[in-house]
């Protein structure tokens, strides 16, 4: 049970969060079919760090990107995404 540092709420238990997808799988709807489908259907799936999109679904509901290690489960970094995170 991870302790996830929500950028808005502080550290919270993992049960409050939902994993959605990896950052490299995000594609804009107007992308060409080949590009979009490769991004959508393939993953680097590394045995190491990857950037993942999580949502504080049972908390503030904000979205964030965790840089998380797939073997140690260490969360190296977190950043907010969404309108609040815009400069």
């Amino acid at each position: 049970m991870y302790l996830i540092p929500c950028p808005h709420c502080g550290p919270r238990a993992q049960v409050e969060f939902t994993y959605e997808r990896t950052v490299d799988s995000v594609v804009q709807p107007d992308a060409a079919t080949g590009v979009a489908m490769r991004a959508l259907f393939t993953r680097a799936n590394p045995m190491g760090l990857d950037e993942e999109i999580w949502r504080h679904s049972f908390g503030c509901r904000a979205w964030m990107v965790l840089t998380r290690h797939r073997v140690t489960h260490a969360i190296e970094a977190v950043r907010a995404v969404g309108p609040e995170a815009l400069p």
Binding site: L3, V27, A32
Partner: protein
């Protein structure tokens, strides 16, 4: 006399039974202590050979003394007699024996043990699978330990969460010292101890100063606000310093004082201190599993803590100094120390208080099913033997590094102690006390007969079994465990793992640390399923969501239908009506007059802001921006791969304000999707998309008389088809939407959920006055199928494109919506894809879910997604998926359901059975 007894008689205040025989016990006795005090040597039978077994240990590592305790739904099989404190009325039964513990026919298996080596079942019982099933019937009955429970659990289990600065596991001197240090430094402390009392080794090796220190430390911890949980086991160590603790509030089988039998704690700790001590290793020799062979520290515990003398004439076998303290304790209690067998060479200068034999190893024991009689040893290469009724053994100590390993920690090899000790750990935890630095001991090769030298007592795994596994190539420690079942018993190998590793190292002629290492996984000791499931077990972990109009429906006594977490009225039967009769009446009322239905659970989103249209054109696959204010339209949404995954309606309430509805079942998924699009794809848009599913409740009013019924109530101009107007009913502000799901003139009336009840009441009165009635989900199904409207979870199964569903003409020509790029995949325009069609029965009823075939025996080319009937004039109709369906209208097929023995001839038709032009609701 021989056998165990009480040192000083008296003080027995509790009554309990074992196998129906009544005994007395002192308060604080473990069941094992009480049985020993009563001279009971034989407590259980082993798993495979049904060998007689007594008490080996005094703790949770016990492999032998397993009993079934409690009665009815509180029955707990496989309870360790060493980890159960006697209470008045305790009922314990031995297990895995027939007809009785003393006379167990199962022991006959032992006669065939030579033909039943480990893994024998892999080498025989061949033939077809059905034949194995027959062998297995017998094997299953012979296997298993305790009886299978049959009754539900009468007790409750609670769960609790806690945060702490320091969690100390183990209430011995090391743990108490660490807890006190932390508490005095102002930290929040939780200390857990699996025993009923604190002190651990201090209880076993008590002297007066130690007793005084224990009392003072506990008082001080309490004063500093530390939380001390006894009878609580740190069971699992998970990621990010999260631990589960299991706390017994009632002993196994006992009736809990406050209905709560156990409590599960989820603790997040900044720092974890592991002070779980070390577990003594048995020694392998012939018949080392007999009653009367006990672990040395356990013997000391029975003497000092429980006042029980496990034997009068005692041989002690050891490879370390600790066992001499057992000799001392026994001698003080009046037992005769016949011999101390020390595996180590004679030291240069030693003062011997007992008859010590150096370079001596136990070789075998003899005795009855109940008690030990004789111990033989190899002393300096020669055999010696003694009459004795107890053999206390100490083969060294194994640090309890289980939690350390669960935490992802590594182990280091400690040559002096011949043990693995906790090494580096990725989590904030530290191991202290005997678990970090166990007493020194030496390695010594066993001298008994390998076939009768037991390593895993419960599963009857011997040294010979390990040797055979080695010979057959099962040399990885994990292969060994799995092939021989070593370490797989209820004690999880707490006493057997190191013995096995030592043997593997011996066979491979390598050092023990090179022989391999097994992993420890949660739980540390077996944990009650009901505790882990917790209160959620009562509702299968699924809460119930109550609709705003629940009470209004309940008053009509409907048939309820689960839909996601919701329960919605399925039909409102009158008198003796069946579901089918009621739903048909309700549907007819809509077709011919008026009906009303609760549609509150539909997903609803309010989308506002200057970029609201642009945002919706991402989410919806249909055009949205051309919608005039006050108008609405049907829409559907695609997944990124181009498949339709939901549908609904979108309404432009004002210039920059939209209401989007979608299916009930997909509501949570749609909420996440909309949030994803907003936050991850287009955070730059000036838009707000708010989930208002439960904010607004809704009522559908449908039928040729819907307009007049509503007009009388609302008093305003009613919206024309696919338009939205504000209104007021019964003084409550509402939105009036004109949209038809049923195929009739229809309105949806939305109000704030907390204020919907009077709206329902007013509408219900008006509907009744117009000879109408409320209708449920079943009638809604009949209506929408006849109309040819698709539904999410039915026709929309996540595998079809807009083209497959006949929706391609509605796609936003401008593209740019989610899923547009997915639609470009080549195979999506292949022939042979499933497409939406209608079916009409040539005779009979079309079974829902049936396969569509051209002739019986041919492979299915589609299936029936929903079946209904023409509401007014009868005749079975259905919606279906059919390969290339749009080109196959008028073809005749068979809808066949072999599982139900049904088959119906059908004709493929358009899915729109009723008013395809929409004349009944268009203005």
């Amino acid at each position: 006399m021989t056998g165990p007894s009480r040192i000083a008689p008296g003080g027995e205040t509790l009554g309990f039974t074992f196998d129906g025989v009544a005994y007395r016990a002192r308060a604080g006795d473990s069941l094992a202590a009480a049985l020993l005090a009563n001279g009971v040597g034989l407590v259980g039978r082993s798993f495979k050979y049904h060998r007689p077994r007594g008490v080996l240990s005094a703790g949770v590592e016990e492999p032998n003394a397993l009993v079934t305790v409690g009665e009815g739904g509180r029955t707990e099989p496989n309870t360790r007699a060493t980890d159960l404190f006697v209470y008045e009325g305790l009922v314990a039964r031995s297990q895995n024996r027939w007809p009785s513990l003393g006379v167990d026919f199962g022991a006959a298996i032992g006669l065939f043990s030579k033909a039943l080596p480990p893994g024998f079942y892999y080498k025989t019982f061949f033939g077809p699978a059905k034949r194995w099933l027959r062998y297995e019937w017998f094997i299953r009955r012979a296997a298993g330990l305790g009886p299978a429970p049959t009754l539900p659990d009468p007790d409750r289990f609670s769960q609790r969460a806690a945060f702490t600065d320091v969690l100390v596991v183990g209430g011995g001197p090391a743990g108490l010292t660490a807890a006190l240090e932390a508490a005095e430094a102002g930290r929040r402390v939780i200390l857990v101890e699996q025993d009923a009392m604190l002190g651990a080794s201090l209880v076993r090796d008590a002297d007066l100063p130690a007793q005084a220190w224990l009392g003072e430390t506990v008082d001080r911890l309490h004063a500093l606000g530390a939380r001390i949980l006894t009878r609580t086991t740190a069971s699992g160590y998970w990621d990010h310093n999260f631990l589960s603790l299991t706390q017994r509030l009632a002993e196994p089988g006992a009736i809990p004082t406050h209905c709560v039998a156990q409590r599960l704690w989820h603790v997040r700790a900044l720092q974890v201190v592991l002070a779980a001590g070390a577990i003594e290793r048995p020694i392998a020799f012939t018949n080392n599993d007999r009653p009367g062979v006990m672990l040395s520290q356990a013997v000391r515990t029975y003497v000092r803590r429980f006042g029980v003398l496990p034997g009068c004439r005692v041989v002690i076998a050891t490879n370390n100094d600790d066992a001499y303290r057992t000799a001392q304790a026994l001698a003080e209690a009046g037992a005769e120390i016949v011999a101390v067998l020390d595996a180590r060479p004679r030291p240069a200068d030693v003062a011997e208080r007992f008859p010590v034999f150096w370079n001596a190893r136990p070789a075998s024991v003899e005795g009855s099913r109940h008690h030990l009689r004789r111990v033989s040893a190899i002393v300096d290469g020669a055999e010696r033997s003694w009459n004795a009724d107890l053999l206390a053994v100490s083969g060294g100590f194994v640090p309890a590094a289980h939690l350390h390993m669960q935490a992802g920690g590594k182990l280091d090899w400690n040559e002096g102690a011949q043990a693995f000790t906790p090494g580096a750990t990725p989590q904030a935890c530290v191991t202290i006390g005997a678990a970090a630095s166990p007493p020194a001991s030496t390695v010594s090769a066993p001298v008994g007969h390998p076939k009768k030298s037991f390593v895993d007592f419960q599963n009857d795994v011997t040294l010979a079994d390990i040797d055979l596994a080695w010979a057959e190539g099962y040399r990885s420690v994990e292969h060994l465990k799995r092939y021989t079942t070593l370490g797989m018993a209820t004690d999880q190998g707490k006493t057997s793992n190191m013995l096995a590793l030592a043997r593997l190292a011996e066979k491979g002629r390598v050092a023990i640390p090179d022989a391999g290492l097994t992993t420890f996984r949660p739980p540390f000791t077996p944990a009650t399923m009901g505790l882990l499931g917790g209160p959620a077990a009562r509702h299968a972990g699924a809460h119930v969501r109550r609709i705003a109009l629940h009470d209004s429906h309940a008053a009509l006594n409907p048939i309820w239908q689960p839909l996601g977490y919701w329960f919605r009225p399925r039909a409102y039967p009158r008198g003796t009506e069946t579901l089918a009769q009621a739903s048909l009446r309700e549907a007819r009322s809509v077709r011919t007059g008026v009906g009303m239905a609760d549609v509150s659970t539909l997903a609803k989103f309010e989308v506002t802001g200057p970029d609201a249209a642009a945002f919706l054109e991402l989410v919806c696959a249909t055009s949205v921006s051309k919608l005039a204010a006050g108008r609405g339209r049907y829409t559907f949404m695609l997944r990124e791969d181009g498949m339709v995954f939901d549908d609904g309606t979108v309404w432009r309430v004002a210039e920059h304000r939209y209401l989007l509805t979608s299916s009930t079942g997909g509501a949570d998924r749609m909420a996440a999707h909309i949030s994803y699009v907003r936050n991850c794809l287009r955070p730059d848009l000036r838009v707000s998309a708010v989930n208002v599913q439960e904010h607004y409740a809704g009522i559908a009013l449908a039928g040729p008389r819907a307009r007049e019924t509503l007009a009388a109530l609302a008093g305003t101009t009613l919206p024309r088809h696919m338009s939205i107007e504000p209104g007021e009913i019964g003084g409550i502000p509402v939105w009036l939407l004109a949209a038809s799901y049923s195929g009739e003139r229809a309105f949806e009336i939305y109000a704030e959920a907390t204020r919907i009840a009077p709206v329902w009441t007013a509408l219900a009165a008006a509907v009744e006055a117009a000879d109408g009635c409320p209708y449920g989900l079943e009638a809604m199904e009949l209506l929408r199928i006849e109309k040819g409207h698709i539904v999410v979870g039915g026709e929309v199964d996540g595998r079809l494109t807009p083209h497959d569903l006949g929706l391609e003409k509605m796609l936003n020509k401008a593209g740019g919506f989610v899923g547009a790029s997915g639609l470009g995949r080549p195979a999506l325009s292949d022939r042979g894809r499933r497409e939406l069609v209608g079916l009409e029965a040539l005779a009979g009823t079309i079974p829902e879910g049936a396969m569509l075939v051209t002739a019986e025996g041919c492979p299915p080319e589609g299936h029936v997604t929903a079946s209904a009937r023409h509401i007014l004039h009868g005749g079975s109709i259905a919606l279906a998926h059919l390969a290339d369906g749009r080109y196959r209208h008028a073809e005749e097929l068979i809808a066949t359901s072999p599982t139900r023995g049904l088959a119906t001839r059908v004709r493929v038709v358009s899915p729109h059975f009723y008013d395809p032009a929409g004349d009944r609701y268009r203005d």
